[in-house]
């Protein structure tokens, strides 16, 4: 099945391992994820101001590109798969606003005067986790070549996949889509109470200390619950929980470290796609743990 795939800027820069591992894993599941030939930033943060037409232009323009792809036969269905939680959230919410606010939709359309077509509102925005879920966990199980047996993984959702209620990919209070996937991959899923807590998001730019505190709280909980590794679906969460551990260690002497990876990297690993896992890009390095568990051999790229 050919589906449109919206990467977003981070997956082309600091989150390349997320993209590589996702695209290769999707192929195993029979999904060809096609990138639009033209796309722009998703808009990053959803605008809550009701008459803020300008901030809806970026996300809606991307959805128009998806519609144009479908019209030209490049994809099979009028839906778009996202990976980055922030892109998912922004595209999905703008799509909802567009479809429920005819005045705003008209104004957006007026700004698309030099586009070859206008957006109809008909694109379905989904996250790869939803796409995989719709294929069925038994299909995932069938494709596993190297079960993640004995690997204690704590799935971390953060905010943007689940909130606000109504646009989330799963139950906002008790999600289990990532647990279901990891179980299908053969991992030992560790449930921990802070899997829905915010990682601090963009405070990481100006208020690093705040992010270090929040990350510490989350990671400590995960460790205490028995996790050896954390799986996430958001490049900003991955950065705040992963790269920020250097600062966490400075602030909290007793904290050591715990690897944080994308759920797609673990999927690729379980599917036997070692070269697509790109574990070299994660900080802290998850490879020693994975070697220890007998899941990877050695010099992986």
């Amino acid at each position: 099945m050919k589906l449109a795939y919206y990467p977003g800027c981070t997956l082309k820069t600091t989150g390349k391992s997320f993209e590589t591992s996702a695209l290769e894993s999707a192929k195993v599941l029979g999904l060809e994820l096609v990138e639009p030939s033209r796309w722009n930033c998703c808009g990053t943060v959803h605008s809550l101001v009701k008459d803020d037409v300008m901030h809806h232009l970026a996300p809606i323009r991307n959805l128009l590109r998806i519609e144009q792809m479908q019209a030209s036969g490049r994809i099979d269905e009028k839906r778009v798969v996202t990976l980055c939680a922030m892109c998912y959230n922004t595209l999905k919410r703008s799509n909802n606003v567009f479809n429920n606010n005819s005045d705003l939709a008209r104004k957006v359309g007026e700004n698309f005067e030099n586009e070859t077509s206008n957006y109809s509102g008909g694109v379905t925005v989904e996250h790869l986790l939803e796409t995989i879920r719709s294929l069925g966990w038994s299909l995932v199980k069938d494709k596993v070549k190297k079960p993640l047996a004995g690997l204690k993984v704590a799935p971390y959702y953060g905010c943007l996949l689940l909130r606000p209620r109504g646009i989330g990919i799963d139950d906002a209070d008790n999600p289990h889509v990532m647990e279901d996937l990891l179980t299908a991959l053969g991992a030992d899923v560790v449930n921990f109470p802070f899997k829905l807590k915010c990682c601090g998001s963009y405070h990481t730019v100006e208020m690093k200390e705040v992010v270090a505190d929040l990350s510490h709280r989350i990671l400590k909980q995960a460790e205490e619950a028995g996790a050896e590794i954390v799986a996430t679906a958001c490049p900003l969460c991955e950065f705040n929980l992963g790269d920020r551990q250097i600062l966490v260690q400075k602030k909290y002497a007793t904290f050591k470290s715990i690897p944080v990876v994308y759920f797609t990297q673990l999927t690729a690993l379980a599917f036997g796609l070692e070269q697509a896992t790109s574990f070299d890009e994660n900080k802290p390095d998850p490879k020693p743990l994975l070697k220890d568990k007998g899941l990877i051999k050695g010099d992986l790229k």
Binding site: K12, R38, W39, N40, C41, M54, L57, A58, R61, N111
Partner: protein, 227 residues
């Protein structure tokens, strides 16, 4: 085809009746003005004559090169001979060929709202917004390719609501592209060597003192790469 036909235009608010087949630039000169700024190559290459106009009865503000655009009846025109911008100084040999370089020198590019106003204003029909967006995600090859026809007229920068200067981004991308992505091509390296060795020095000296008539003739009959 418009021989003898006259049209009414407004140059900075002053009504002028000018021949219908003139470019904006020639029409302004026809009206008696003399260019001290805002005129360069007169061939659509240098970007010095950026102009904006509205037509009577239309709210649209349009961009054009004065040396290329033929006047239309009811045009209300002004020139934007210079667009203020800070061109950053960098050493190309020390740059990284990825998104971080754009963010370091021109961090305001992340303010792009994808409104496409820049693209609408471009007299070269360049997909300006698309190349700014490509730069944000570090796609240097695409930024360079899409911005290739940019002549730096500055109209995009004057219209951007996020106050980005797109042409600086495009130029940086093309430099990074030729230095790091494509790499210097052999014919360029060879030519640089020839220049250094003084291969063309005598020809240049000859041209410098050549009679104007002979020089004009030589220019008009020069060898063109694209016929």
């Amino acid at each position: 085809m418009n021989e003898g036909k006259m049209v009414t235009i407004y140059v900075m608010g002053k009504k002028q009746i000018v021949p219908a087949d003139l470019t904006i630039m020639k029409a302004i000169e026809y009206a008696g003005y003399q260019f001290k700024r805002g005129a360069g190559c007169r061939g659509g290459f240098c970007g010095a004559c950026a102009s904006v106009y509205r037509k009577r009865g239309s709210y649209k503000l349009q961009g054009a090169l004065a040396c290329q655009k033929i006047v239309e009846d009811g045009m209300i025109i002004t020139q934007i001979p210079f667009s203020p911008n800070e061109k950053k100084t960098y050493n190309i040999n020390e740059l990284k060929a990825d998104a971080s370089t754009f963010l370091e020198y021109y961090p305001e590019i992340t303010r792009c709202l994808a409104c496409n106003t820049c693209t609408k204003s471009c007299p070269q029909d360049i997909m300006v917004m698309d190349y700014v967006q490509a730069a944000i995600r570090g796609d240097i090859a695409l930024t360079a390719k899409l911005s290739f026809d940019c002549i730096g007229c500055g109209l995009c920068a004057m219209r951007c609501p996020a106050e980005i200067v797109p042409f600086n981004i495009g130029q940086l991308a093309r430099r990074l592209e030729s230095k790091y992505v494509e790499g210097p091509t052999e014919h360029v390296l060879k030519r640089c060597e020839e220049v250094k060795e003084g291969k063309f020095d005598s020809e240049i000296s000859e041209l410098m003192i050549m009679d104007k008539k002979i020089l004009t003739n030589k220019y008009n009959n020069r060898e063109l790469r694209i016929k």
